[in-house]
Amino acid sequence: MNIRAVAVLFALMALLLLGAAQAQDDIVIDFYFPSATANDAEGIFQRYADMFEEQNAGISVNPVFTGSYTDTRNTILTELQGGGAGPDVAVMLSIDLYSFAEEGYIVPAQQFIDAMDMGDAYINDFFPALLANGADEAGNVWSIPFQRSTPILYYNADLLAEAGFDAPPSNNAELVEIAQALTTEDRDGLLVPVAGGFPIWMYQSFAIAYGQNIVGDDPTEVYFNSPEAVAAVEFLRSLGTDLGVGPAGGAAWGDTPTAFLAGQAAMIYHTTGNLTRILSGADFEVGVWYLPSGPAGEDGTGYGSPTGGGNLYIFDDGSKSQAELEAIWSWVQFLSSPEIQADWGATTGYIAANATAWETEPLASLAMQYPQYGVARDQLQFAAKEFSSYATITIQGIINGTLESILTGEAEDAQAAMDAAQAQIDSILAEYQ
């Protein structure tokens, strides 16, 4: 082999390598995220993207802010239906699964987990309740928990102590008793934020506490007119009417924590996603406890809340290369790693989704300093699936509209309104049998 041939060979190899490097450089991950926090989510994601790019040469991440959860879902669907490319990865509500799976826009994470060396260890590190909404009825994992939350009871411990209550309520009867004792002319005893477009989530916790979740494991199972479901909404309505411990029609979502911090509400139901804000903003002792159990159960047996928040979804219509999909999966894995979950949880207040994250800094020290974080995590053992079914958007719309008309007093007969809604829901779900 002469010198020239070697030179040509080297040159070719160099070109190939260059070409390969070029091709790797070309992998750009479009990452869409909603901002549901008051933090600078864009800045945080840019920081994560920088960290990730440093560890993964040849992949770059392009974070795009897409509004609220609803805005994000609508933006992506409009883009994909209009022939656009859409994101590669997006944070969307865990309950959006069927809206995207039905259309064939997303692929299950299961195939990537199966291909991992330590796939079982990775997925089993997540709290089981947080995986419920991301998996289909056959147990395939589609989306990975990222910014998760549950509703939880916040109480003003100072006010409770003044009135002689040394423990938070553990069932609905105690809840009402304490709330009534703490209701004054300029203070509500209990605010449950069911006004403002999305009552279903808070309502679900009452339905669960009454003993019957409104959704089953299968995406065709909805139980919106069961006796428990009706009793739950009637109890919720009575808080603002007969019992008089909060505003008629329910409190507005956004105002509830602000009123609590201002001392104008003794107890509130709200998301654990608000824990950091409330702990740092309160000038009184903030107590956090499991949502009280319903009337049926003994103490501790009727606990329960739906899970909530956003998961990571992987978009592919079958056109993406193996290399691209691997890059996408490594970004998902990065965001769901204990290190990032610990950082994200500590910064925002979302429940870090995997057990190891709770032993990782900065979350480990924070949870030590504020035991309230641990309560949010421990309530997960009682948590149930958040409402999600086929045709989720439409069916949720029916449920939300029905709840709002019952809570605002427009529909006086809750049972009749819920029967009508269930009939509409059944006729939609019949298409999927």
Partner: protein, 276 residues
């Protein structure tokens, strides 16, 4: 002054003050709330000033979005839309006002369809069109659906028809071509109509949210309304009114200050131009 007029005058003055106060309250409280600590809603403590004055809300609001960039983007959006509109509208208005050609009424009718089918209603098909043209996430995509304006054509057509035809004939005799006729005869005689149209166009697109939100993804081209949406949708954590008010002030204050400084010139010139 007769007694009736005097009575009317007194009434007018009190109504005027009442309206001005009512209209200003939102602005005043936007400012006050933006300067209060976040944990102190107006219901707590002094309704006006709270316990202390702080710039925390502004610091946080500023950090949330590149406001300067959004501002420039909004200006580019409304300015670019208007600039092209003025050209397309002038030509079409002249053709419909002063030229005879086959199918004139039919074409005018087709144009008028735009008034009845607002493009805002057609989000999905318009998205598809922009995507087919390969313009998704570009400045052009933002503006393009608005570049043709039937409203502007009708408004200017009516104005052009009032320009004495003799002026055009005189210019033509002097050898002016179409462009010169438009520039020297029609445009100067229609300034009020142009102003009115510009005001309508600019204020409509300055408000635009849904279309820019759906058709853009890059911060580099997104307008103010999309930036502001970030502060509104802090949904998981509820309302941060201090921060929201600070952000709103950041968004509105340049224009409001400009108007405050130049309101006389603005209103007077607009009024003097004699829109009818």
């Amino acid at each position: 002054m007769n007694p009736e007029n005097r009575r009317i005058n007194a009434l007018v003055n009190s109504v005027k003050i009442a309206i001005a106060v009512a209209f200003l309250i939102p602005l005043v409280f936007t400012l006050l709330v933006s300067l209060r600590p976040e944990v102190e809603p107006v219901t707590k403590g002094n309704i006006f000033f709270g316990s202390e004055i702080t710039l925390d809300n502004f610091e946080r609001a500023i950090a949330i979005a590149p406001w300067g960039l959004h501002y420039l983007n909004s200006i580019a959006f409304v300015g670019g839309t208007l600039a092209v509109q003025l050209i397309t509208v002038t030509g079409a208005a002249y053709a419909f006002a002063r030229m005879r050609f086959a199918g004139r009424s039919l074409l005018l009718l087709i144009l008028m369809l735009q008034l009845m089918i607002p493009s805002g209603v057609l989000l999905v098909p318009n998205f598809r069109m922009i995507h087919t043209l390969g313009l998704f996430d570009t400045r052009v995509a933002l503006m393009m659906p608005y570049w043709g304006s039937a409203f502007g054509v009708l408004l200017l057509r009516a104005t052009f028809r009032e320009v004495p035809i003799e002026l055009e004939e005189a210019a033509r005799i002097d050898g002016a071509n179409l462009f010169q006729v438009l520039r020297n005869v029609y445009v100067p005689n229609a300034i009020p109509a142009y102003l009115a149209f510009s005001l309508v166009s600019v204020s409509a697109h300055w408000n635009e949210f849904l279309w820019p939100f759906i058709i853009t993804r890059s911060e580099e081209i997104r307008p103010l309304t999309v930036g502001l949406n970030k502060l509104i949708k802090t949904t998981d954590q509820g309302a941060f009114y201090g921060q929201l008010m600070a952000g709103t002030l950041i968004v509105i204050s340049p224009l409001v200050l400009l108007f405050l400084l130049f309101q006389r010139q603005f209103v007077e010139s607009f009024a003097r131009s004699g829109i009818r």
